[in-house]
């Protein structure tokens, strides 16, 4: 098991280093989320406060999509994925490493997005914060598997949002519920359940996505 975790850690480190040197994904995600929030402010001029919780969640899901679309691009472009699949490590370690890396990106972007949201729309509650963290796990777990799937297809940039959004609807429902109701516990529990079920499913099935 330690070997498994070491493999995953090495792969995640590779992704983070690549981003640190290249700085391709993070700045565009950060810009995108702020621009989205500003655009939403004008889309709902007047009653933005009432619906703002929903805007935050749509912005997060779209920003995550932007990052996930890039997740397997380096691997595919250089044929690294074939090498990784052949390497003597468990294939699901590749998935776990990707989840860790995208989770880190997402948290960094949200560290910009949430203060910006609080500034524009006024306040972020503790329940929203907890829901965002829980939702990140589910978004990354499902998203990394689907990104690997979409990367195998021809129109990968088109395919990923189509595959991902129907699966993200429960996350948005749970997240908005946690933010706007008096009893966030049920919604946080639901997000946790979603994370657990889909993380196990993605972890178990990733091998079939990258092998033939």
């Amino acid at each position: 098991m330690t070997g498994y975790l070491r493999d995953a850690a090495a792969l995640a480190r590779k992704d983070l280093l690549l981003e640190l040197r290249g700085r391709e994904t993070l700045p565009s995600m950060a810009l995108f989320v702020v621009a989205t929030l500003v655009a939403f402010r004008f889309a709902l001029a007047g009653e933005a406060e009432a619906a703002s919780e929903g805007l935050l969640w749509v912005a997060i899901v779209f920003t995550a999509l932007l990052g996930l679309g890039r997740a397997f691009v380096p691997e595919r472009e250089q044929g690294v994925l074939d090498g990784l699949v052949l390497a003597p490590c468990d294939r699901s370690a590749i998935w776990l490493a990707k989840v860790v890396a995208t989770f880190a990106f997402l948290v960094l972007v949200e560290a910009i997005a949430l203060p910006a949201f609080a500034l524009f729309f006024g306040g972020v509650g503790a329940a929203t914060l907890a829901a965002v963290l829980l939702a990140n796990v589910g978004i990354c777990a499902v998203g990394c598997l689907l990104a690997a799937m979409a990367a195998a297809g021809r129109a990968r940039e088109l395919l990923l949002p189509l595959l991902f959004l129907p699966l993200a609807i429960p996350i948005v429902a749970g997240g908005v519920g946690a933010g706007v109701t008096d009893d966030p516990g049920r919604y946080l529990g639901f997000l946790g359940l979603y994370d657990a079920i889909f993380a196990i499913l993605a972890w178990a099935s990733f091998e079939y996505v990258v092998t033939e």
Partner: protein, 211 residues
């Protein structure tokens, strides 16, 4: 034939609903179609699991065909549900109807399944991807249902309950006959499509051998 009999029973034999009158009779078509769609999705996911398990090539085609049937029946559910909503409540679409919202999400999900299938070249890799996505679908059904139930609490503070009268014996029989009819129809379409697809694949193999 079973379906025809069921429709006949539903229209002529079963007593009319006191509140909704004639429009209630669409229930005998709408609900069996919805259940059949679930059955097709479940069957497709089961075949997908078998495929990942045993690597049998035939399961891929069977899973695809079942999901194809399920999507068609799912679309029919949306259409009949929408008609029912129009007649009963005067609107074509109601977010309060949880089953319909669920079918909308599922329809989007399984449409993406076809996009995935058509964008990957034929081969073991496509079969694996489709199978994994089909498995996700069958897990998404209860999760989405739960999400819709939870969302109901903050989108519609007043819970929309429509306590219909208990089904009487004749109504229930008519309903069961209709359900059996749609299931039989789905099974017939499934075998028919499967035979066609297999024939198609065999024909392509032969043509490749010839050239």
């Amino acid at each position: 034939m079973l379906l025809g009999g069921g429709v006949g029973l539903a229209l002529l034999w079963a007593p009319e609903d006191a509140d909704q009158g004639i429009s209630q009779r669409i229930f005998y078509i709408h609900v069996p179609i919805a259940l059949t769609a679930y059955a097709c999705f479940g069957w497709g996911a089961w075949k997908a699991l078998r495929h990942l398990w045993t690597r049998g090539e035939r399961y891929d085609l069977e899973s695809y065909t079942a999901i194809h049937q399920g999507t068609i029946f799912g679309l029919l559910t949306l259409v009949t549900g929408s008609i029912w909503a129009r007649v009963s409540w005067g609107v074509w679409w109601s977010w309060g109807e949880q089953q319909l919202v669920l079918f909308l999400i599922l329809f989007l999900f399984y449409s993406a399944y076809f996009m995935l299938r058509f964008s990957v070249d034929e081969g073991p890799s496509r079969a694996n991807l489709s199978a994994v996505y089909a498995l996700f679908g069958v897990v998404l059904i209860p999760i989405s249902f739960l999400a819709i139930r939870l969302a109901e609490n903050f989108i519609h503070p007043v819970v929309f309950t429509r306590e219909g009268p208990q089904m009487s014996g004749t109504m229930f029989t008519a309903f069961l006959v209709c359900l059996a009819g749609t299931l039989a129809l789905a099974a017939a379409l499934y075998t028919n499509e499967l035979t066609g697809k297999r024939l198609d694949a065999r024909l392509r193999e032969l043509r490749e051998l010839l050239t």
